[in-house]
């Protein structure tokens, strides 16, 4: 069957609203579940075979959100989601959740984390699923039948992921402990070979003695900054705060933006509106080559794109196009004004941007009328 249409967006709506509640309690999840009437996702005159395949696909899709690199809260939400899907399904006997051997250790670690952090409702639910024998213990998550055709890869939603923290990966507690040991050992070595047994020779002062403390403080500062960065951004998702972009997160955000922009542009420019009969001589043609080709017919998309690039180049900043760009929007800096471009016909797309409410942004009109 492939992934049923709309299922992924439903899951993501549920999980992102759960993420916004900032809680990991089952009660909050059930409120969302009931308000969305999620249990009715199995309704609608499906016969037995279709029910089976749909349920299998739904459980497999939900399972993907249960494993790293998703955040802890998303994983707890997925656990609740799996519980809900498993118990509300209409198949008899029930379709099971497939767990691969390579993922089982992650799952057990997750369960231990839940118990240690005393999130009893999540741990209870996992225990209940296990007791109800809701799992199939398999070799690989999907059935493999050597299908050579390219299947679509579900992309990991950026907002659900923990940003990769290279600093924390590098300075784990083991590494820190080892560094301390090595440092002590080194100091002792210096002491034993120098004349005065308690103080090392002046000539051997090649490193800062307190470098270890400096590292510790720096790492702690970084953690604090990380935490502070995360929390305000949660609450002001809809406000256009002026956020300071520092360090490597700026890079990731720029890459995210660039990707989303590229995606939106390609989406926008791949659809051509059909001109009416009276204007068919001015029909916009979709040109497959990129922006540098000089195009013939009147106002084609290529010229528009080129004009975009020319206006934006001097600023060195990318224009954000229309569409829902919540995560891009919150990162925008205040100086992104550009000259309004007045084009032929009645096109009035001004590219002036306002920092304040999103709603005031003018939509670019695309069609030729």
């Amino acid at each position: 069957m492939g992934t049923p249409p709309g299922l992924q967006s439903d899951f993501e709506v549920l999980l992102s609203s759960f993420q916004e509640t900032d809680s990991i309690h089952f009660e909050d999840f059930t409120e969302l579940w009931r308000s969305m009437k999620f249990g009715s996702i199995f309704c609608g005159k499906m016969r037995n075979l279709e029910k089976n395949t749909f349920t299998k696909e739904a459980l497999a899709l939900a399972w993907q959100y249960f494993l790293p690199p998703y955040t802890f809260q998303i994983r707890v939400g997925t656990l609740y989601l799996l519980y809900g899907l498993y118990n509300n399904q209409l198949c008899q006997p029930k379709q099971k959740i497939r767990v691969a051997l390579k993922d089982w250790d992650e799952v057990l670690k997750f369960q231990q984390d839940l118990i240690n952090a005393q999130h009893f409702d999540a741990a209870y639910i996992f225990r209940k699923l296990r007791l109800d024998k809701a799992f199939h213990y398999t070799a690989m998550p999907k059935l493999l039948s050597y299908r050579m055709k390219k299947s679509q890869r579900t992309e990991v939603t950026e907002e659900f992921k923990d940003p990769t923290d290279r600093v924390m990966k590098l300075t784990t507690s083991d590494v820190v402990e080892e560094m301390l040991n090595v440092h002590d050992h080194y100091q002792n070595m210096k002491n034993t070979i120098s004349a005065d047994k308690s103080n090392p020779d002046k000539a051997l002062n090649l490193i800062k003695d307190d470098f270890f403390d400096t590292i510790k403080n720096t790492v702690l500062e970084h953690q604090e900054w990380h935490k502070d960065r995360k929390n305000p951004s949660f609450n002001s998702k809809d406000k256009d705060g002026e956020e300071k972009k520092e360090g490597k997160s700026q890079e990731t955000e720029r890459c995210e933006r660039a990707e989303s922009l590229a995606k939106i542009k390609s989406k926008a420019f791949s659809v051509v509106a059909q001109a009416s009969k009276s204007r068919r001589h001015r029909q916009v043609k979709l040109d497959s080559s990129d922006s540098d080709s000089a195009s013939g017919q009147g106002q084609t998309k290529e010229t528009r794109k080129r004009r975009n690039k020319e206006t934006s180049k001097p600023k060195g900043r990318k224009l954000s196009s229309r569409g829902n760009l919540q995560n891009i929007h919150k990162e925008e800096k205040s100086l992104r004004l550009s000259m309004p471009v007045i084009t032929e016909e009645n096109e009035s797309f001004s590219e002036t941007e306002f920092m304040a409410p999103k709603k005031k942004r003018k939509h670019r009109t695309k069609s030729l009328v």
């Binding site: 049923p4 249409p5 709309g6 299922l7 967006s9 439903d10 709506v13 089952f26 009660e27 059930t30 579940w33 009931r34 969305m36 009437k37 999620f38 249990g39 009715s40 996702i41 309704c43 609608g44 005159k45 016969r47 037995n48 075979l49 089976n52 118990n87 509300n88 209409l90 006997p93 029930k94 099971k96 497939r98 051997l101 390579k102 250790d105 057990l108 118990i115 005393q118 009893f120 741990a123 209870y124 639910i125 225990r127 209940k128 296990r130 109800d132 024998k133 799992f135 199939h136 213990y137 398999t138 070799a139 690989m140 059935l143 493999l144 039948s145 050597y146 299908r147 050579m148 299947s151």
Partner: protein, 364 residues
Amino acid sequence: MADGVRAGPTYCGLGDRQDSASSTDGCSFPEYELPELNTRTFYVGAFGDLWRGRLRTVGDLSLSDPPAPRLPGCGGVADLGREDAAVARDLGCSLETAAELRAVCGLDKLKCLEEGEDPEVIPENTDLVTLGVRKRFLEHREETITIDRACRQETFAYEMESHAMGKKPENPADMIKEGELILSINILYPVIFHKHKEHKPYQTMLVLGSQKLTELRDSICCVSDLQIGGEFSNTPDQAPEHISKDLYKSAFFYFEGTFYNDKRYPECRDLSRTIIEWSESHDRGYGKFQTAKMEDFTFNDLHIKLGFPYLYCHQGDCEHVIIITDIRLVHHDDCLDRTLYPLLIKKHWLWTRKCFVCKIYTAR
């Protein structure tokens, strides 16, 4: 369960025994070789051991019926108390918390349909995209007055999938043991390239890990086995004595560089001899092939890749591609009768045709 060391394909037999505790044992831990396509070679028996080792303690492997869900009101207070004590012990919380959890996480909290609401009907004010799509589809059918009934193919497919589910054997000795592995194998029909351009039809069988390769071989039903060879123009109405299945009994499986030949009967020949001689005659770039007897090996003894095409050859030249798609532990809801395995759960069927000779029965 067979040990790691065996005559014939010996990959890292010793390593399996020593590293059974570590989770990154290269030879028994299935992981992707080509992402989403097939895995690396792993040893089936050791894979089973890894899972069983992880699950033994909690009763996940048991095949007995789980306790029936308790109806509210029934079951004494003592039962609930016992349950709460178990919860408190497992989670490390107090008894009151356990009782609270039972109330908070109950299934009634997830109920979205009221009593009496038909699960067939899509609720009106729903935001779910999936339901929107489904509703549009149903409405389109209503508008165009298309009647949506299960066709024969759909009924057949569903029946094949579920006819054996949950079956218990009459003889308790035929019950599958806990922790048994179930492999699901796709056996493609011999490919006719101009006919099978879009997709290649196949049948799917479930086999147990402890079953021998010969049992799978016997259960594969191929039309080339039913052929009748010979000259019958003088006696056209005489019932034929032999079908090809009885006359030509040789067959082999090819898994990971080893040909497993069927040698149960004296007339079985080694069909793989030709291939091995061909590959050894010049430097063809293939490794050394090995041979073994099919009847000596069970599926637990094999080293295989999941999702990788292998071969089954019988009748001298009838070749079927075999792909092992999945291996999992047996579950309480599966068919638990050993005698029914290898179990056919999917068979390709499009149309039946009437035999053009007798005009009475359908052609097989």
